[in-house]
Symmetry: D3
Subunit: 164 residues, 6 copies
């Protein structure tokens, strides 16, 4: 079966919102990073399954650098798109902003890059459609995804001797 | 105020368990990666706060590579330790295994490296105690933590022009 | 203080996703209506707070008619917009579809109309900005919102003598 | 198979309690409406399944008018009864009060009317037993349920041309 | 301030329902005991706070003996009453049944006896009203509560030398 | 099939941590007892399943006496071990401490003794391995477990006539 290429827009999620709750906050009233990672993964898998048309599992996640904290009463806004597809894997980019709806401001919290693999009933990888970037931004992400992939492979190599 | 160095054992968590629930599973009956990331962060912050004696926030998380899936009825086992401390940050290593308690087997699922920062009431970084590695394994982790730190800084540099 | 009118697009949420979990399903493997209502309210309040710039509370919700059930493995997709604003209240429309990402199909589950009121620290109503509908669809919703408002007032009147 | 009529008392739930948690409160310390709707649905379905003896799904919910907010530390008290049964559907009435257990006061928050349908394994409607109202209050609710049913049908008709 | 005695009926909760969810079940499809204990405590505290008119904390819980398992699709029904009040503490009895609403059957799962203490802002015990048992059943429970109290004190004594 | 005896260390869990959340606290900012009971049961079942190699269900729980409250920002630390095994049941001891990681202090909150039974697919009891206590502490617990077992049987006997 040949798998037809799909545009980014067919799986993109622009405006997923999550109002921060008291249980999400530490004693300094900033949101736990792990809570944000967990939601990002839950939204990213939807984009991956839309693109691949199959159940997808998280294979890896690139480094997260939190650039600012999310605070009490902020609403997290998740923007998610497939950046590139390879034989049997996809990179999904997730950008998270914290919106203060009362003051109409937003700040960037973190960007994350997930690699998902589409799997069959036995957990074996399935082919995924190619991705068609259609504008400048999508093409830039398409290119960066390949660089990140190489960085992933290199880092993994250089750390092999230290793996616990 | 001088901050006294502390051994790894003062903050280590060896045996945190989480039995997987139906809600944690996708349609292939494997556990969501984001759920595992979220628990890892919740346990890692306890080690970071034990070591630093202050409220800690997640500053970054290194790449995650899931090496095997966790399944229905597995129990996740989290082993957590501070690997190294710098002026105002700490690397916390988290190893996650999936245990089948019925067959007495375990397999490695993922290892993750978190960087936490201790913060005051205004979110400003606070100094953290130095870490004293006391055995071969702890010393190896101490060394690897520094290499990962350099890799983090390098990767961040090389990707700057692509940041969304 | 005069409150400046705002377009629909300033608060609109198009693509909020929720993957259905085992805990959301009854013994026939269809999703509980109350779970869908609860998420709709959580997303609608974000649109209301974006439009009003203040904390908002749910004042009323129009009749819900579930037109089809959501099933196991479906992803709920919420589309939310402010339909009309009056002196101190807003109607927020929420359309919920169930998407089968594997077969690339969607079906309409339910549409709901919430009335929110912006409130101050003492729970007293605050003025809200007028709404600017900008296209045919938004104008149609703007008109329908007023008819629903009259229906709400009429129904409430005719049922007064039965109120428990 | 003939289905035997049942009295209201066979399915009634008088005193279901829910202590409000920090996560249920907005920035003005009042409870989210959607949280209350979700619990009401979860309790109402128990009354519907007791009356029908089958799995039930929410078919529609009449307008909700919140008459007062529930606050921090209040306990919600749900009173639930089947008001009327038709061929294959039932109206379930839910009254929600907020109790301040420390001052021994209660106030009415909202009343809601759910329509549930009993369904078989394929989601097809099943016949439900008739309802036997046994006292003045139950008879009044039995009568009001029919009026609300007509209002539902009329409103639905008059809004058909606006449905998104 | 004298505290006026109150009847059992002023705080009694007869019919609190909880439909069992997939997440509440182990691999044999029976409900976790700890989940049942947790709900029992959440309902019991409402009865304790109604009786005492103050914030209450769990001081102790008598032995639990599960006499039958609760299963998938069962609805748990909690019956809760204050059995006796002493100077600053109350015994709350909780009976849990598992109802199969489809077959109109119930079986007894577990009965539990909680001791709650009413506390002020500093956690110091506050006097609680006396309890007025009004019928045979309530008087029987009133008597049994005192016997259980003595058993609690005796057992605690005889195990002192083994306390970990 | 003979079942081989196992040492305590094969199933022991020393350092399970749970950071207390806002939702876990009452109006006096102390943690709900039922929440602590529920986590204890979830961790204890892991020890029971490790020891028995089969699915286990909670058969009974001995009296709980809360000796101190857990507070906001505390981290609960659970220490869990199998204390003794009989033909088809095991006693699991759980000690819960509240740790203030910022001040490096711990206090004892509660100790609990669970009896678990290993069950087959039909819920019938299965034989469990004998337990090998290996040091003074484990032997002391082994002895105390038998005394508690007798106390359980005696108390159950003397209360039979009062059972609701």
């Amino acid at each position: 079966m040949t798998v037809q290429a799909k545009p980014v827009s067919a799986s993109r999620i622009d405006n997923h919102v999550y109002k921060i709750f008291p249980n999400d906050l530490n004693a300094r009233k900033t949101a736990f990073g792990g809570m944000i990672m967990s939601i990002a993964d839950r939204v990213a898998v939807v984009a991956a399954e839309r693109h691949s048309g199959n159940v997808c599992v998280t294979a890896s996640v690139d480094s997260w650098h939190f650039v600012a904290p999310a605070k009490e009463n902020d609403t997290l806004v998740f923007s998610v798109s497939v950046n590139r597809a390879w034989t049997s894997s996809m990179e999904i980019g997730v950008r998270v902003d914290a919106e203060n709806s009362y003051e109409n401001t937003r700040k960037h919290i973190v960007s994350a890059y997930f690699t998902f693999v589409a799997v069959d009933d036995d957990g074996k990888p399935l082919p995924v459609p190619a991705l068609l970037p259609e504008n400048e931004r999508e093409k830039q992400r398409f290119e960066a995804a390949e660089i990140r992939r190489q960085a992933r492979l290199n880092t993994r190599e250089s750390l092999k001797r230290f793996k616990a």
